[in-house]
């Protein structure tokens, strides 16, 4: 039973694999499916770069085994722009200098996608609190927070997609 049959829906597409139980969800996404948008920084749940949506809620994919996600729906950063067009949040990151090296960006985008879905009008404090689980080592938080608030405003105004 070290190997298990696992079926996971990722960005709307169902994938069936027989995987080792110890394979993390992050490694499943990157190595089995080739979805390398999900980044691995620390591999012990501190940096947040590997954050994905699991049945719609943010989770660290390095702290889960793929077998635990059997039957679940995952959204990765690739799933935020299914048609190749940037989401409102992604465009706001570009417009507001919300990324430098880009390593933390997938996790930031996923966490903020969840926040903005739950809270259409977050305060700066709400955004900063949501981002405590995502580290940026370029010290780019000011731009990231600005991008999140900008995306929220655009979505409320209906000027975004």
């Amino acid at each position: 039973m070290a190997k298990q049959a696992t079926r996971i829906t990722v960005n709307g597409k169902s994938h069936a694999r027989v995987v080792e139980a110890r394979l993390t969800l992050a490694d499943f996404l990157r190595h089995e499916l080739g979805l390398t948008g999900t980044h691995l920084g620390c591999e012990h749940g501190v940096c947040g770069a590997c954050t994905v949506l699991l049945d719609g809620r943010s989770a660290r994919s390095c702290l889960m085994f793929a077998v635990q996600a059997n039957g679940c729906e995952i959204t990765t950063v690739e799933g935020l722009s299914p048609n190749g067009e940037l989401s409102v949040l992604q465009q706001a990151f570009m417009d507001n200098h919300g990324l430098q090296c880009g390593f933390c960006t997938p996790g930031m985008l996923i966490t903020l996608t969840e926040l903005l879905r739950e809270n259409a009008d977050p305060s700066e404090q709400d955004v900063r609190e949501a981002l405590t689980g995502n580290l940026c080592r370029c010290t780019g938080y000011a731009g990231i927070v600005k991008a999140a608030l900008d995306a929220a405003r655009q979505t409320r105004d209906g000027s975004g997609a």
């Binding site: 039973m1 070290a2 298990q4 080792e20 139980a21 110890r22 993390t24 490694d27 591999e43 012990h44 749940g45 947040g48 954050t51 699991l54 809620r57 943010s58 989770a59 660290r60 390095c62 702290l63 889960m64 085994f65 077998v67 635990q68 059997n70 966490t111 969840e114 926040l115 609190e129 949501a130 405590t132 689980g133």
Partner: protein, 289 residues
């Protein structure tokens, strides 16, 4: 940074989970995995078998029963954080949950997992200690109830037998209108607290304290109740001076020193945070302070 190989088991019944835990060698329970999996990735923990409780329905649910709020051990921290029952009956728990890890870890982390992990700096054990919680532990021998006061027995060590798991947590509900306070000091929101305090106050006519509870965490090898502070408050009219002198009892603790903070600093924090938590509790119980 990859865990050692293990066999994975995903029982659907509590009875099956208990049988697996009793029969498999070197087996570990997987609840939310937000503490266990990092330890496995570091290979601090090498298990031959992992028993995932994520599909055991018996371990879920929240209900008010006989003056207690009963929560299944596998309730996710975010579920409790957004639960109207928790907000209404155990607001101390609701407030403490906002300090537990980060939103991504609360989405996965469970109440039972946090209590069984028994990190001395964790918030939920302190809430359980302050609230006189009762834990229901399950094994092939059935269920047994343990007062939370007797549950942590040392540094990250609990009263759980090797074949037992937490099935449910019961928090006695305090009278409606009681006050609560929760303060911790961490370098960054969501980090482990250097010290923290959880307080409950029931205040009657004339501002007289009818019931008081104060628990500290992050200061010793396990959370501690400050009995002397509670005794100092009981039966007295609450005011700033009463809170100050009660919080002074936090000086009596013997805090740990480590790379994060020295014992003297933790003792100082314990006193300051106790006063703040008691002050919030008094204000929320309707006393102007």
């Amino acid at each position: 940074m990859k865990p050692a190989p293990f066999d994975y088991h995903a029982p659907r019944q509590l009875k099956d989970a208990a049988e697996l835990l009793a029969s498999l060698p070197n087996a570990r329970i997987l609840a939310g995995g937000q503490s266990l999996v990092p330890m496995m990735n570091f290979r601090y923990v090498i298990a031959d078998h992992l028993i995932d409780l994520g599909h055991v329905e018996d371990l879920r649910g929240i209900a008010v029963i006989d003056g207690h709020l009963r929560m299944g051990a596998m309730m996710r921290q975010h579920e409790l954080e957004s639960s109207p029952e928790v907000a209404r009956h155990c607001p101390l728990l609701a407030e403490a949950l906002r300090h537990v890890g980060h939103r991504q870890t609360r989405n996965r982390g469970t109440i039972g997992g946090s209590l069984a992990h028994a990190d001395p700096a964790a918030e939920l054990p302190a809430v359980c200690l302050a609230s006189d919680a009762v834990l229901h532990l399950a094994s092939v021998r059935g269920l047994r109830a343990v007062a939370f006061r007797d549950f942590p027995v040392g540094y990250m060590a609990t009263a759980l037998a090797p074949d037992e798991m937490i099935a449910a947590v019961e928090l006695p509900i305090w009278r409606l209108g009681h006050g609560h306070g929760f303060h911790e000091f961490a370098r960054r929101h969501g980090d482990f607290a250097l010290a923290g305090a959880a307080a409950l106050l029931d205040i009657g006519a004339g501002g007289v304290v009818r019931r008081a509870a104060l628990a500290l965490f992050g200061v010793a090898e396990r959370p501690v109740r400050v009995d002397a502070a509670e005794a100092a408050l009981l039966g007295k009219a609450i005011d700033r001076a009463a809170i100050r002198s009660a919080a002074a009892a936090a000086w009596l603790i013997e805090p740990i020193s480590d790379i994060h903070a020295g014992g003297d600093y933790r003792r100082h924090l314990a006193q300051v945070l106790s006063a703040r938590a008691l002050g919030d509790a008094a204000r929320r119980a309707g006393v102007e302070i």
